[in-house]
Subunit: 462 residues, 2 copies
Amino acid sequence: MQPAIIGDLRAAFDATTVLTGVDIDARYHTDMAGIAVAPPIAVVRPRSTDEVSRFLRICHQARVAVTTQGGMTGLVRATMPMPGEIVLSTERMNAIEEVDTGGGVVITQTGVPLQRLQERVGEVGFMFPLDLGARGSCTIGGNISTNAGGNRVIRYGMTRDLVLGLEAVLADGTILKGVRKYIKNNTGIDLKQLFVGTEGTLGVVTRAALRIFPAPAEQQVALCALPSFDKVRALLDLSRKRLGGDLTAFEAMWNSYYRLTTELVKGVAAPLPTNHPFYVLMESSGSDGERTRADLEKLLEEALGEEIILDATIASSGAAAAAIWRIRDSSVELSRAIAPSAGFDISLAIDRMEAFADAIEMGVKTIDKDAFAIVFGHAGDGNLHVNAKYSPLADKQEEMTKLVYGITGDFGGSISAEHGIGILKRPYLGLSRTAEEIETMRTLKRALDPHHILNPGRIFEI
Amino acid sequence: MQPAIIGDLRAAFDATTVLTGVDIDARYHTDMAGIAVAPPIAVVRPRSTDEVSRFLRICHQARVAVTTQGGMTGLVRATMPMPGEIVLSTERMNAIEEVDTGGGVVITQTGVPLQRLQERVGEVGFMFPLDLGARGSCTIGGNISTNAGGNRVIRYGMTRDLVLGLEAVLADGTILKGVRKYIKNNTGIDLKQLFVGTEGTLGVVTRAALRIFPAPAEQQVALCALPSFDKVRALLDLSRKRLGGDLTAFEAMWNSYYRLTTELVKGVAAPLPTNHPFYVLMESSGSDGERTRADLEKLLEEALGEEIILDATIASSGAAAAAIWRIRDSSVELSRAIAPSAGFDISLAIDRMEAFADAIEMGVKTIDKDAFAIVFGHAGDGNLHVNAKYSPLADKQEEMTKLVYGITGDFGGSISAEHGIGILKRPYLGLSRTAEEIETMRTLKRALDPHHILNPGRIFEI
């Protein structure tokens, strides 16, 4: 029997907007963490903020829960429908409305894939600096609701830092028209912060004003090999000193990541031998091509002279730079190639990273003697990704999770740097937030979504 | 007769913590906007987060309102006590607890004056980039609760962008222990955002983890004279292109500001003649002193050659740089020198600024034929300050306010870029926020401070 709300939705929207039964494609209940136990009771695909508002008002009155979906590239099961939920797909809210180069702002609907926005802005000589491996499928709405980080945080910050204004719909259908272009706007409580990184639990973001920057004339990418993590830190310090604001990425890879990715992932080559303990991908961006390259060359020469690095290569073309980036961007493909493994995304102080990684490596072997850790990440932002590879004979996810988060806690880290909490990490939220903080999150949830219809049970239990 | 709560406070704290009657100095009811109609019923001066918590619990139970004070340099009457309120002074929470250069973080209590934090961080070769004219007296807590902007937003963002973690106390005394050092920490709702820029209405911030950066080896300051605002924009575009991330300040001054400040404010000299239509103060920061200066010289030569600027001087010493900065930093002194005037702080698109300023200049003369406008500000951030000077025969504050905000609205601007709303701008909040937004602010206030004891009536009426 169909739930009563389906009739209300069919009456309120045209047939292409409301999908049910066999019309619901599996992609609405499949994400990068797997497939849902049941399909949603309906998929609603609004085209506008007003349609989202009308839809939520119906759900609010009927007390039916909604999960909002972007590109389904999340890793924590935040947008996988739970039984009885309706999916709100943003896929038809995909208009880039305005690119304002004078003001340095793009205004877009939130169903737009990140890469399409990057390309559109690139056409007029600008850049939207947010960038991550899932760029082709993840959406701006997903980026905002997870406060996505990615490859250029070291220079441009997280998604939160790029958001100037948002239009969002509250659980009861109230529209907050906050698409404004100002960098500075201290007029009361900054409501848009409620919708950044809150995983769709406090509202649905429909439109955004985002910062864009003149595209640097030149980007230079280098790959370095290093003998120890101390040297990784020394290279970061030296790069900051020599390149200043031109340093736009600093990605560290432990040997296991670099070696296995270049060995196992199709189409990924190794520009440097695979026997070095550590690798760093550096990107430098500047307005003067020759100087940017000369500065990077000089920096690498100095680092070689001081024995900070053992070897290095600077990409000689755009294609070569893309090939180096492909190593770092293939983490999902690597985790598929080595399955089963348990993946983690943690923050901790850079001076604890080496000891942390060593403790993880020792720890995983106590659970499974064939297990090993693959460590890589945004070292310059205090953010590491860890893949704990174990043998396929038994499911070790939970044991690995407890181990890794236990060690993360011991080292004073956070259990989620950029991936979020969703359902998967919910049991562990208390490791990174106090009881009072979680209770205050619940207070906000109750105030803004009293019937708990927006992504209920994600982040914390209600 | 003393209110009953005074006895409870005296019982809970030592005598130096609770001041009443003649022990209350006038500075607790005087700010830059004037003096309160009545002194507070008490001044409480806690030393720690725990003391703030105990204090607020007493006030919450007694339903007595509290206004939290930092350096009293605000311009919107947010911390001036209203009749019957208690002042929470942060003046004894003044410890800088840790300067972590490895992690790029300083941990501090919030009663610390900005300049003291800048100096402490400077001792170890680092910088806390927030900077504004009131640096000597404004406090970190005030900077956070107003989301202060200032002179280096163009490179380092607003205070919000510099906050890594906060410890805050809710109205009922609940302590949120959120002092964490991570740049990335996507673990649920980012509660610290509730306390940034909310003018003490949602909680009291007691400790903060703030980002610090290696101090640039070299800062170069130039002052330029320009023939038109179009050229100011052209200089900004050229500076961004040539200096990139090294451009750390870009401050525009209309003729009236530059001329009157250098003529009327004691100790402020004019390094360039006072007859040019526009002036720009630029600051460039880099790791290589010679190159930073050479780059700036080259930029100014190019700008002279292209007739973007008419004249320029680069400070030849730290003292000369400070003298140029003093022109821009003397806005409060100027407004005192020309009193009476009405001051405003607005955001708008840079391509509307010239027409906006012209409309203001015409408008003020329709109110008072002797009136004129003084315009200056952080042009690179889309932020202007306006002083409408009028003749002392009649109070024109309200008329000027309506005029300036009306024109701001016509030009699509925001009525507060960095100063906040407080009591003074509350009647005009609806010009920059929708009814639904203001109602959502009230929802948050009710949820977190159900008895409305924290700075009640600031930002919006309860």
